[in-house]
Subunit: 202 residues, 2 copies
DNA sequence: CTCCATGGAATGAACCGTAATTCATCCATG
DNA sequence: CATGGATGAATTACGGTTCATTCCATGGAG
């Protein structure tokens, strides 16, 4: 299990991760062969087992490491927003933007990790909760500042927001002929969530 | 491939479908063994192949048939609603209620069908679109009647609504210790979507 | 400067468990 | 006894994982 090779081989682990993202996103975890990932990353089958315990570990590592970056990044970005509403806007924009910047990664996170709890007996996707927590923070702040309704149930609201973004992501990923642009859609989602569907307040 | 057996065995196909739902929902499609489904439905392994082409076909059939019922049922139920807003309420209530009535089924539809497009090369989940179309109909009606904003993008809105419900469903399914009650949550989702998060209209 | 020893990294062919599918056989019914 | 559904053990393919072998960079010795 090489830690970090001084010469040129230092990126081998990353090459494998990148290839895994590509392959998993294309064919799904269960239909992806380790040998394919090996081929795609230009290493031998056995080499993968020098860097990862097994195929499951490859998926988990991928999730943990990449999701960490995503979470750190979105925390950074939203911090620059003035109020809760602006932060929410940034959060949503960022999420939809990821679709273009990291299409394969998002696809894996979206589809494969979801059902991971089914086959990865004990694994809890902590990083995913970190991501949701950022959203909770924004919503709490908005309540505190009177921007959002006082009776907002943050536990439900964070899921509503995430679910909306997530579903649009899926639509984007699955529709071959791109019907819409992520950033434009982000605007629509934001408006819908902040103002609601109704013409008038009841 | 027996169409419909006159004697007692007529329910064999259904027994298999029911068992498949239970097994798939518990362990996921790829980790479910055909022999498990056979055992759970009280038939021999080979018998399954008298009723279904293969394991994939079992999943697809399950989806098509059960989803048809769900769609027909929700069309029926929403039809009784007075206006678009009430129909939307019914739709959301119904969706969350399915979680209790058909927990296993929803879990399969939610998690397994999602990634089906990855491994079922040509299959398009038509019934899923039928379900979304019911939602579109409600939103269109609301726009026509001035209940919903005129500039609502129905294509995006239907996904926002579905995504919100869907994400809460997932939360419900995955959290062992039930933190919330589906029908109460349904109310929160409805309010959030119709009125939005904000305290004031901008 | 050349040669060789050393050890860790990389290789990939072979192993092996698993599970989808088949099919020779059995059995109930009319 | 003929028909056709049902059975489940055997077949077979597949692909994750292993590990004996090879490769290569380094550095010490001659």
């Amino acid at each position: 299990m090489p830690k970090r090779v001084s010469s040129q081989g230092g990126d081998k682990r990353n090459r494998i991760l990148r290839a895994a993202i590509a392959v998993f996103s294309r064919k799904g975890f269960f239909n992806s062969k380790v040998s394919e990932i090996a081929r795609a990353s230009g290493v031998a089958d056995g080499t993968i087992y020098l860097y990862f315990k097994n195929k499951d570990d490859l998926l988990i590592s991928l999730f943990e490491e990449k999701m960490s970056e995503v979470v750190a990044d979105v925390i950074q970005r939203t911090a620059s927003g003035g109020g809760a509403l602006e932060k929410l806007k940034i959060f949503i924009d960022n999420h939809m933007d990821l679709l273009e910047r990291e299409a394969g990664l998002i696809e894996v996170l979206q589809v494969e990790i979801r059902q991971s709890s089914k086959f990865l007996k004990d694994y809890a996707p902590v990083k995913f909760f970190d991501y949701l927590d950022v959203l909770s923070g924004i919503l709490e702040e908005g309540k505190r500042d009177g921007v959002f309704r006082q009776d907002l149930n943050v536990g439900v609201a964070r899921r509503v927001v995430f679910g909306a973004m997530d579903e649009l992501s899926r639509t984007y990923i699955l529709s071959k002929k791109q019907k819409f642009h992520p950033s434009i859609t982000a605007g629509e989602i934001f408006r819908m969530l902040s103002e609601g569907l109704c013409a008038q307040r009841a």
